[in-house]
């Protein structure tokens, strides 16, 4: 079964690539003092808000908003 972090990475990878996408999630986990096992859907909102400013720089506000919404959509198994 694909983990939640993998699904977030999958959402970011089309823009950032696998490596930077995974590093972005890892950075969030470290900053939030979470581990892959404890990372759950309740953290997706915070993750999306954390990544949005950086994404805006590279992919624009509108696209960053779409990506953030896609991340939040993973709550519903999206």
């Amino acid at each position: 079964m694909i983990s939640l972090t993998d699904r977030v990475v999958h959402t970011l990878a089309p823009y950032l690539g696998q490596t930077a996408a995974r590093a972005s999630v890892q950075m969030f986990l470290e900053k939030s003092r979470l581990q892959v096992g404890t990372f759950g859907t309740q953290h997706l909102g915070q993750l999306a808000e954390t990544l949005k400013p950086g994404l805006k720089v590279f992919i624009g506000a509108a696209r960053a908003e779409v990506v953030a919404t896609e991340i939040l959509g993973l709550r519903n198994g999206g």
Binding site: Y15, Q18, A23, S24, F58, I59, A61, R63
Partner: protein, 260 residues
């Protein structure tokens, strides 16, 4: 036009350009006309693509301004290149140096420095995992170290050579501006490579490779023109052509990301 389609077109033009620039016919009139017009076409493409990126960012987005400055810089460079192309294609003479195009090249060079520094600073404060500050800025430090080592050997003959004051100032300005621009450019190249596998790689790698080709050509042009060496004109023309057709590929990549 989408970036993927443009990249195919650019590859064809660069290939034909390589044959024209590096073959024994490089100094013939058909090759000169082809090279001059190809460079101009690439630059016009770069201007249009950059303005498309500007339009893709919202009015209140901070990244809009550096892209706008870059678009204006490329427009200035295009005007400068048009002056050179006018001499080569219409008047059928070697473009003079300095030429009426140089004020536009100078303004373009200054604006490109500003835009690249702005891109690097924005990336640095983006919050994405792009390395420690030292890792992030190390390519710029490496370029500046290279500048410190090579500045004297490159600029000394330029300063010593007989030239008009304006030509001498320009021959110092272009390599100096190029080196300064290469510093943030190297930073953005590293950033681009961090995005391997993602669409942002197709923005920043072509963009930075394109500008690097142009900037290296500027340095070599100043050096070789001072020494009156024309045997490398074809190679320099090719580097310019490569740059002018790679930059729009990166800008179109950014436009595609914004419009996706």
């Amino acid at each position: 036009m989408r970036a993927s389609r443009f990249t195919v077109l650019a590859a064809v033009v660069i290939l034909v350009g390589a044959v024209a620039c590096l073959g024994p016919w490089q100094a013939t009139r058909p090759a000169t006309v082809l090279i001059a017009l190809s460079k101009l076409a690439g630059l016009i493409g770069a201007v249009l693509a950059s303005f498309r990126v500007v339009a893709g960012f919202g009015n209140d987005e901070p990244q809009r301004r550096p892209w706008l400055v870059l678009a204006v810089a490329l427009a200035c460079t295009t005007v400068g290149q048009s002056v050179l192309a006018y001499h080569q294609v219409v008047l059928d003479v070697r473009a003079p140096f300095p030429s009426p195009g140089d004020p536009f090249f100078v303004v373009g060079a200054l604006l490109i420095v500003w835009a690249m520094v702005a891109f690097a600073r924005a990336a640095s404060s983006s919050g994405l995992p792009l390395g420690t500050p030292l890792q992030f800025w190390s390519p710029a430090l490496a370029v500046l170290a290279l500048l410190a080592i090579t500045a004297y050997p490159v600029l000394h003959p330029v300063l010593e050579a007989p030239a008009t004051p304006v030509a001498r100032i320009l021959n110092v300005f272009y390599p100096a501006a190029s080196f300064v621009t290469l510093a943030p450019l190297a930073v953005m190249q590293r950033v681009g490579l961090r995005f391997r596998g993602g669409s942002l790689l197709r923005v920043w790698v072509p963009l930075t490779v394109g500008f690097a080709a142009v900037l290296v050509s500027d340095v070599l042009f100043a050096y070789f023109s001072t020494l009156s060496m024309t045997s490398l004109d074809g190679a320099l023309d090719f580097l310019y052509l490569l740059g002018y057709w790679t930059i729009p590929a990166g800008a179109l990549g950014q436009a595609d990301v914004l419009a996706a």
